[in-house]
Symmetry: D2
Subunit: 366 residues, 4 copies
């Protein structure tokens, strides 16, 4: 089926395999008049790039984004923005041995089950490389949100058992460490943990948190197109994510109504506000004007150097040890992917919301 698109008005379609000629994305429905060039997008791709630190693969992807359409005289025209990245650094030889067996934790077996065969070079369409296309689209969405006074902050919340300390939260620290943690001490400890794990030929998981500030109350829809439902789909569609939480998330199961309800109040500007934000900024699927808070739990990189049991395509049980270049943790590079998917979802919801009230439609057309 046509499963490579997401969004209704602001809609992106990604394409490409890790070891094909290129990967790319088409953004359809971006409003006309947004100043945009490659220079706006490159920094986001650089945040995702491998080889930035000792915690990520030394593989170099000198990804230079190329915009092929949808821009005229430095502004979006309202027509599709097509962008691509050539795959320059792939080394097909590295992956040739994985053609014959199914790597545990990967999509090799499920791909073969679905399609009968697969592009086995480096994960093909299921490779993390596909997320670079999402990041390129996300950069456009983030730029659009900025124009509306909406900002997104995304960071690594935990790695293994090392979680940031809320009391030491420092937004300026996020880009100071290789792990994108807003707590310098936690970052140091997490770094040590990763080194140990790496030495042990293993990998580790973690959690990414995203806070969206400035979304007005009233965005989202009350039933199936709830804002939190769409954020969940968008974030769960990132490979390696196994849980999504909004606001207090999984902890709500243990809390009482009197603890979990956020009391409404009048803030210093005389506007309706909330005293707390257990809800994570969404009530009944619609934004309430508070910060929107969403978290994604990432599993450990499934590619590990340790020996594992599996089966091959002949149906024989074998032992394998995966070679090549693999990050011991996907979380730091996934931070910008989470941010991108959140931004794309919010933009689409904002555009869809414009026709919710007849008086606004009348004002628009008169």
């Amino acid at each position: 089926m046509a499963g490579s698109s997401i969004g209704t008005i602001f809609r992106i379609t990604t394409w490409g395999e890790s070891h094909g000629k290129a990967i790319g994305v088409v953004i359809d429905g971006c409003p006309a008049g947004l100043p945009l060039s490659e220079a706006d997008i490159q920094p986001y791709l650089d945040r995702r790039k491998p080889g930035q630190s000792k915690y990520s693969t030394p593989r170099k992807e000198n990804d230079e984004i190329e915009i092929l359409s949808g821009i005229f005289e430095g502004k979006t025209t309202g027509t599709p923005i097509s962008m691509l990245l050539y795959n320059t650094s792939q080394q097909s030889k590295d992956y040739s041995d994985i053609a014959s067996y199914y790597r545990p934790g990967h999509a090799d077996y499920t791909f073969d089950s679905k399609y009968g065969f697969r592009d086995y070079r480096g994960g093909g369409r299921s490779s993390g490389r596909e997320t670079a296309a999402r990041v390129a689209a996300g950069a456009v969405a983030i730029k659009l949100l900025e124009q509306l006074g909406i900002s997104i902050t995304t960071y690594t919340r935990s790695i293994g058992n090392i979680c940031i300390d809320k009391n030491k939260f420092d937004i300026n620290e996020i880009n100071n460490n290789m792990l994108y943690m807003p707590d310098a001490e936690a970052a140091i400890n997490a770094g040590k943990l990763i080194e140990e794990i790496s030495k042990d030929k293993d990998s580790i998981g973690g959690c990414v948190e995203c806070i969206i500030q400035g979304v007005p109350a009233g965005i989202g829809d009350p039933v199936f197109e709830k804002l939190d439902a769409n954020l969940s789909k968008a974030l769960m569609s990132i490979g390696a994510v196994k849980a999504i939480e909004i606001g207090d998330g999984i902890n709500v199961t243990k809390n009482k109504g009197s603890e979990n309800n956020d009391a409404f109040c009048i803030n210093d500007n005389g506007a309706i506000s909330k005293k707390t934000n257990h809800a994570g900024g969404i009530l009944g699927g619609i934004s309430d004007g508070s910060d929107i808070i969403v978290r994604a739990s990432f599993k450990a990189t499934p590619s590990i150097f340790k020996e594992q049991s599996t089966v091959n395509r002949n149906g024989e049980e074998i032992e394998i040890a995966i070679k090549g270049r693999h990050d011991p943790i996907v979380v730091p590079r996934a931070v910008v992917v989470v941010e991108s998917m959140a931004a794309i979802t919010i933009v689409d919801s904002l555009l869809l919301n414009m026709s919710a009230v007849l008086d606004n439609v009348k004002k628009f057309y008169n």
Copy 2:
């Protein structure tokens, strides 16, 4: 926007407010030839019905489902199945006082922010009552899955701090207790907890778990239409849900790759299988043939009898205590809603998958 539909081939559209004339659902795209009558659907609605136990509101909803179209001589015709439930028991008087203020934890404020006004009677479109329409559609999806050898088991996994003991898991116990817990002892303890909470004019949250057995490997799509992404959206679209987990869920953040990866093996039937199921039956967004495991975390009922702070429509801070009839916990009645949304998602994915491989298309048309 048009946010009251979900699904691509098997697509449902719900409509109706808790205190309007009726609520209902239209199922479009159900394959022709499924034996179906009201008697197939009623038992599912009865599982959701209030007034079943001392833990749920004594309000009676004598919901009798009526099928208005799409069935001929006892079988689905392939055309839309329209079903409705008349709202017979609503007492608008009970709710008239909530017109003027915003109940904490409810969608009152966000609805007003979006639409400028709201049907304030009993939650309107955001009422839990809307889920009865989902359950009617879910019953059809579940019946369809049965024809394909797929079964779903759904139950209450935890209430507050009381979690079922995996070692005492007894599937036959689920329908034996009012809380739909597969562990008799946990059910007793949870019942006591709810009574205490109720006496304290408060409410409590909990977790629902759903296990889908018999889905063949290969269902779902590799990028945005991942099976787990669609399950997440479907379940997060249920009011009061704040987190979704697949397989090991949130625990994957703390686990190593060597712990989290499921080794492939050859089972007794000579088929490819997995030794463990941390993945919850989905790899790379596509089913792997193991049980699909998904959990939803529900917050405590936001309507509590305790006094709470809030603001009214005039922008004044006030203290309120909500009256009327409210369950101290939504979880037991939500079990069948989770099951329904999961079934609807799985059916749609199965139907969409039929055209994935050219050889199958050729076989179909030759």
Copy 3:
């Protein structure tokens, strides 16, 4: 598949068979705040009603529309508007003989080919009765357009060889005659033709024309979602329609560029306008501010009393003469159906257009 819905933001879903319990429609995405009651809709259904004239079946359908949701205190709430019509006058006996054979020009055979069987009572889902649900939705769309200063005029342009004379066009005449023709003389002649055709146990086709005034320039999309493409789909989806024309339509094949191009000019109000309107108000898929003109060609009613050859379900060639109550022409009753589908398409395009320009999005959210 799910083929009973149309529209993106303003989306309608129809359901029901001619001889089931009821037919209905759900409108999702109607902006909040539109004053609406059954009284707004009934007149449109009455225009479609059979038994209005000697040219339509004497069958009585005392269709009384019932609104079940989406309205509160006399206004749309932004949530789905569910409406239904009970099927009160069907006489299943009349149709029982058509279960066994395939009526020429009807969907009996194609339904059986697709689904394996069919609800053979009165055409089932393919019955013209389904269009009553479209008309109910269309009435809402037309009311919404009125609020934006947009009006639609629809009429019978020709019946058989009798075409209206453009020089005698009188808009006030449309509702003066049973055939909805804006030319009294043509209506008289067409009436005579229909009587002759009827006496001969035959039926006749005709053309419906629709003019939409007041649509601002800039509505529609440049590629696949062209305004004329969506109008074509919407109108071709009406049973019995076999051709769609925009502006000069089929005549453009014979015209030169210099004849067909509409020169732009400055009108008396100083605004950009066109000297002619061969384009029918749409250039490159986008409205140009002129009247939008679209025509639909209807075939003759396929049910005729004359003897016809066909085959039965046993694969035997037989001769049949259809009994029962059938209009000798579908065109007059189809006028309001064309108007409804056009209105639904225009409303959706208007709502989708609101996010086309970033400056408008910024103005909306600031």
Copy 4:
């Protein structure tokens, strides 16, 4: 909005402007296992290429299609097929003068009305060049149809007043003349007509007819997703098309039921068939097993060398004469575009139809 995609399961998204870096298309949902390479696609693009004859612009587009994804070891993988064509021959200078005024019959004015500005170089997104991307996608659809025993024949039916003579119809002649007419004599006459028109600095319209053979009965949907409704949208979405006809098309308005109905019969193979095919292979929106016949009426090329009146962006009335390279007729090059859009529509309908009947779903999964 996101208007650059069409199709549900087999879904294409085009992007690119005539004078940007490139144009392209992403096909999502193509079944896995179709042998495919650039060599399969190039011949279709060559049919559309300008400079083939004296009747089309001497501009050279050495379009070489490049496939960037979705193919592995010579076969489609089921993942998106991304294809692009670099714009090598554009001469921006030629078009610079059209920035300031609105060409009659073009989308210049409507684009400005919608988006506030436009990429004025050569029509931008509204250029006929966009259709090259459709043709690349169409080539894939046609190849897929061939695997299912379905063939498409498309040709020029008329140019101005010169129409092919049905009695002289010769399928082998279609590719023998520059105008793709299946009647050598008509082609000669039409050629003369075009030369005269060209000398007169004018242009002319025409009609393209498409016959699809081998589609089994039962494809399409009974209500809004009628096969003819989708064909109409797909073909009307081609720039310059102003009318769509199915089967007898516009002539049905003048015909009686007894003339228009196609009698069912048993053919020599013992199968149900029709004695005639006025319906054009579609009854009630669903294919009936006969040839599917659809026609599109094209207006004359709006760019003419003759002097025309128009207005400029300053709101002044001016006289213009368009320079540059323009075909005096779009029809011959549009033949393959019509064929492509028809093929894309048919493929999508075939794939969507696979889940219509429960017994087929059961057979598939057992």
